[in-house]
Subunit: 95 residues, 2 copies
């Protein structure tokens, strides 16, 4: 039988964000936007969802006078990502 895939992670943009945050530990909104190619609106919504699930934490600070949104992955998020990858692999390699 196929394990269910965490619907929060089984989304192209959210998965890309998580993938990015795993390697960078910390990233600013514009950087994530650029790396994923997402529109700002879409990214904003998806970051909210990841944040609401506790998969990432979003810190709103300032860089000089400009607002600056910093994202980090949480231990919960890391664990969820690892579980997702594990589950997904059963779909990818035929038995």
């Amino acid at each position: 039988m196929f394990p269910t895939l965490d619907p929060l992670l089984h989304s192209e943009l959210r998965l890309a964000v998580m993938s990015l945050l795993i390697s960078t530990e910390e990233a600013e909104f514009p950087y994530i936007k650029e790396q994923t190619g997402a529109t700002a609106g879409n990214l904003s919504v998806q970051l909210d969802k990841l944040s609401a699930a506790g998969y990432i934490e979003v810190e709103k600070t300032f860089k000089g006078k400009k607002p600056c949104t910093i994202c980090r992955i949480t231990p919960t998020g890391l664990h969820a990502f690892e579980q997702y990858v594990k589950a997904l692999k059963t779909y990818l390699k035929p038995r």
Copy 2:
């Protein structure tokens, strides 16, 4: 940058179906239903989509007096699956 994921394959049920067909070469509707745990309605819809995309072929025959729907993966489908796996891997392993 992250490659786009074929939206036809980036779906839990359709991916499970493709995964199944890759290993079995041929499968009947009730078997796929059982293996994936899908409802008949959902499976019917998703098979239609895979079929419309040319990823699988659906043959409607009879088994004695009962209708019997047989599914097979096509070369196009196999190729799409392989591409999908390749693209997905860039999301899974952090750079």
